[in-house]
C-alpha cells in the first residue's frame, strides 16, 4: 500500500497576530482518493491548500506529503512538480502576457524543452476547450476563460494530485460540464474545495467540512 498523498498532523496556523484559522487540524488523503471539502466563507479552506503547497508556513504541526515530512522550500519544490493547485482567484494564478507562455511556463520549468513545453501547453488548452487561445493576452480574458486557462496551466504539468479551490466559479454550464468530464478522466488524486454541492456529488464520495479550524 502506498503512503497517503496528504497527511497533516496538528496543523495550526494564524495570519500574523490574528486568531487561529486552523487549529490543530488532522487530515489524511489516501493516494487515488477524490475528496470534497466544504465550509463557510473565511473558514480557512484556501489557507489550508496554500499550507499544503508550502506557500505559507504553519506555526505548528507537520505536513507529510507522499510519505515524507516537508519543511524546507526544497522539499516543497519537489512536491509542486507533482501536485497542482488551482487558485481560487485566477488573477493570482496567471502571470504571463500570453496564454501560451503562461501554460507552457510549468512544463518548461520542470525541465521540458521549449518545443515540448509548447506542445504540452497546446494539448492542455485543447483539453479545457481553449484551442486557438494561444496568443491571447491573459489579462484581457473573461473570468470564466481565465479559470479554464488556470486549469490548463495545471494540466500541462501532468500532476498526480490536484487541489482545486472553487473550480466551478464563473463557469457557464458548458464549461462546467467540460471541467467535470476532464476531472473524471484525470488519473489523479483530487481535493476539491467547493460550495457547489452538485459538482462535489458528481465527483467525490468522501466529504469533509472545515469549521472552527478543524476538519470533520
Amino acid at each position: 500500500m502506498s503512503a497517503p498523498v496528504i497527511e497533516v498532523r496538528g496543523l495550526t496556523f494564524a495570519y500574523g497576530d490574528g486568531p487561529p484559522v486552523l487549529d490543530a487540524l488532522d487530515w489524511v488523503v489516501p493516494a487515488g482518493a477524490r475528496v470534497g471539502v466544504t465550509g463557510p466563507n473565511a473558514s480557512g479552506k484556501s489557507t489550508l491548500l496554500h499550507l499544503i503547497m508550502g506557500l505559507r508556513a504553519a506555526q505548528q504541526g507537520s505536513i507529510i506529503l507522499y510519505g515524507r515530512h516537508r519543511v524546507t522550500e526544497g522539499d516543497f519544490y519537489e512536491v509542486r512538480a507533482r501536485m497542482g493547485l488551482l487558485f481560487q482567484d485566477s488573477d493570482d494564478q496567471l502571470f504571463c502576457p500570453t496564454v501560451l507562455d503562461d501554460v507552457a511556463f510549468g512544463p518548461l520549468h520542470l525541465g521540458a524543452s521549449p518545443d515540448a513545453a509548447q506542445e504540452a501547453a497546446r494539448e492542455a488548452l485543447a483539453a479545457v476547450g481553449l484551442a486557438g487561445y494561444e496568443e491571447r493576452i491573459t489579462s484581457r480574458l473573461s473570468a470564466g476563460e481565465k479559470k479554464c486557462v488556470a486549469l490548463a496551466t495545471n494540466l500541462a504539468m501532468q500532476p498526480d494530485t490536484l487541489l482545486l479551490d472553487e473550480p466551478t466559479s464563473y463557469l457557464d454550464d458548458r464549461s462546467r460540464d467540460r471541467l467535470l468530464s476532464v476531472l473524471k478522466e484525470l488519473p489523479a488524486t483530487l481535493v476539491i474545495v467547493s460550495h457547489d454541492r452538485a459538482f462535489l456529488d458528481a465527483l467525490t464520495r468522501t466529504r469533509y467540512h472545515l469549521e472552527d479550524g478543524r476538519l470533520r
Partner: protein
C-alpha cells in the same frame, strides 16, 4: 504579436533587434562628427517607416526629449568658448557651442529612435529571451524581467482601482477631496501591488519556478536576420568612413 509576417520589424529575430539597437546606440554615442551620427538616425527612421511604425506614439516622448535639449542648449551655449557665430545682446554663440548642441540633439534622438523602433516594438518576454540567448547572465535577465513584470502588475492594479473608484462615484476635480483620494490611492496601490506580487510569486513557485528565467519560445535565426546585421555593419562602416576620411 508573435506572427512573423512580411513586416520587416516583426519578422526580425529578437536577438537581431537587440544587436541592431545596441550597435546603433554605441556608434551614435561614440561618433565624433555630426555627419557620422546621421546614419544612426536614418537607419531606425527608414526601418520604422517601412514597418509602418506608429510614429505619433513617439511624438510626446520626442517633444519632451527635445524640450529638455532646448533647455540644456540655452544653459550651455553662452559658455562655450571659441570663434563667435552670432551675438545676441550680451550673449555670444560660438561655432564650437553650436556643434556641441547639434551633436547632443542628433545623438539623443538617434538613441531614442533606435531603442523605440527596435526594442519597444518587441514584447517584453521576447526581449528577455533575446538577452538570455545573447549570453547576458541569467540572474540579470531574471531581475530585469521581474521589474518589467512588476510594472505590469502596478499598471493592472491601477486600472482596477480607478474602475472601482469611478464605480463608486469618484470624479477627479480640483479640490481637497480629490487630492486626498489620490494620496490614499497611491498608498493603497503600492500595498496592493506588493501583495499581488507576492501571490504571483506563489503562483510561479507552484509551477516549478526557482528564480531563474527560462525562454518559452524557440527563436529562429533566419538569413534575413543576418542580412540585418550586415546592414548594420555597413552603416557602422559608413560612419567610420565619414569620421576618418581625409
Amino acid at each position: 504579436m508573435n506572427a512573423r509576417g512580411r513586416d520587416p520589424l516583426q519578422s526580425m529575430d529578437p536577438r537581431a533587434r537587440v544587436i541592431c539597437a545596441a550597435g546603433l546606440c554605441l556608434v551614435a554615442a561614440l561618433a565624433q562628427a555630426p555627419v557620422s551620427v546621421v546614419p544612426a538616425l536614418l537607419t531606425p527612421l527608414v526601418v520604422g517607416l517601412s514597418a509602418r511604425f506608429p510614429f505619433q506614439r513617439l511624438l510626446w516622448t520626442g517633444l519632451r526629449l527635445n524640450g529638455l535639449f532646448a533647455l540644456m542648449a540655452l544653459s550651455t551655449l553662452p559658455f562655450v568658448p571659441g570663434p563667435t557665430w552670432q551675438t545676441f545682446g550680451p550673449i555670444s554663440v560660438t561655432y564650437p557651442g553650436l556643434s556641441l548642441v547639434g551633436m547632443m540633439v542628433l545623438k539623443g534622438n538617434a538613441l531614442v529612435l533606435s531603442c523605440a523602433i527596435f526594442l519597444s516594438t518587441m514584447e517584453s518576454p521576447n526581449l528577455g529571451h533575446a538577452l538570455a540567448r545573447l549570453g547576458v547572465p541569467a540572474k540579470f535577465v531574471a531581475l530585469m524581467m521581474s521589474v518589467i513584470r512588476y510594472i505590469d502588475v502596478l499598471q493592472e492594479e491601477h486600472g482596477r482601482m480607478r474602475l472601482a473608484m469611478r464605480a463608486r462615484g469618484f470624479r477627479p476635480r480640483l479640490n481637497w477631496l480629490t487630492l486626498q483620494t489620490h494620496a490614499l490611492g497611491v498608498g493603497a496601490l503600492f500595498l496592493r501591488s506588493l501583495e499581488r506580487a507576492e501571490r504571483v510569486a506563489a503562483a510561479m513557485k507552484c509551477r516549478g519556478h526557482q528564480g531563474l528565467y527560462l525562454a518559452t519560445r524557440t527563436l529562429h535565426w533566419r538569413r534575413r536576420d543576418t542580412a540585418w546585421i550586415m546592414l548594420l555593419v555597413a552603416v557602422t562602416a559608413g560612419m567610420l568612413w565619414l569620421e576618418w576620411k581625409p
